[in-house]
Symmetry: C2
Subunit: 182 residues, 2 copies
């Protein structure tokens, strides 16, 4: 692990511990010996699935996002439960949100979403082996989503209209375009 | 703006107001009439620049990211100051962090980085018209970065080693690959 320009922690002040995020302020020593403060969000991490149907459509979920005060179309995703294997979570979220399961998930990449202030790491999986579930699985009790399947062209149009408007989903579209999906 | 499955705010409880982020907990009415709570990070928004040199190298900054406790290579980026035009911010951050300026920035896209818990929106610009500055500009006093220019192949190797490990930068590499950079 690279530690160039490391900022050593002098003390950590816990501010908030919620259901999903924690917030703390770290007082740190900078590389020049001065001190500063860093506001840090702790997040359990997440997974997302780039899921393509037999007829080359991409599976999206439409969901209201309170921080944005609008609903957007995203690839299926969810938070990691404590200690859960990301691939297991990815399959669970795919099943709960879309009504599909799969016997094959390929890890595409992982990335931090906002490295300046949050430690949220998201694992991105790909599958084009979708199997419809006989019975739909329950969503979380505060979760309301619609499933929609779109071609890459249709999805790109939604980017233009800002109805697709988040990092993992826009990444997914470039990934599929490079893969030659049409 | 799409409002499907809208969650109306019953009340907002402010928790923390920092230098960079604010945290609030909103009590909301769900589409089924029940209530729930949403933990929300407010962020001023950000910009990032996909910058390519005359000899087809991509400009990265190496920076320690306290939430990750490691240093990573990212495309140049920075926070929006209140009321600032994103293109202006993009040019300023490019100048401060890399020693280049430009007379042409193309807006590639914008996306929310973590729509589940944060309202951070990042604007992504592209330029391949880089002009070296005669004098370097000052960074923020708590900012320490190194500049490095890499080919796309070299950058992809860093993704494999998780030294490139964030959403905007991994998005940028796919964007450049699609554009035919080699």
């Amino acid at each position: 692990m690279e530690k160039k320009f490391e900022e050593k922690t002098i003390r950590t002040k816990p501010i908030f511990e919620g259901r999903i995020v924690k917030l703390q302020v770290d007082e740190v020593t900078l590389p020049n010996g001065k001190t500063s403060k860093r506001e840090i969000i702790k997040h359990p991490g997440a997974v997302a699935v780039i899921a393509v149907t037999n007829d080359n459509r991409i599976v999206f979920v439409e969901q209201y996002r309170k921080p944005l005060e609008k609903s957007i179309f995203e690839i299926p995703a969810g938070k990691l439960e404590h200690g859960e294997n990301p691939e297991y979570t990815a399959k669970r979220e795919l099943e709960e949100e879309t009504g599909y399961t799969t016997d094959q998930l390929e890890l595409v990449t992982s990335f931090y979403t906002s490295p300046g202030f949050a430690d949220e790491l998201i694992y991105i999986y790909f599958t084009d082996r979708l199997i419809p579930l006989d019975e739909s699985k329950a969503l979380d009790e505060d979760e309301f989503v619609d499933v929609i399947e779109l071609t890459l062209d249709e999805a790109e149009e939604l980017v233009g209209r800002q109805q697709i408007h988040d990092a993992k989903t826009e990444y997914a579209l470039l990934y599929l375009k490079l893969k030659g999906l049409s």
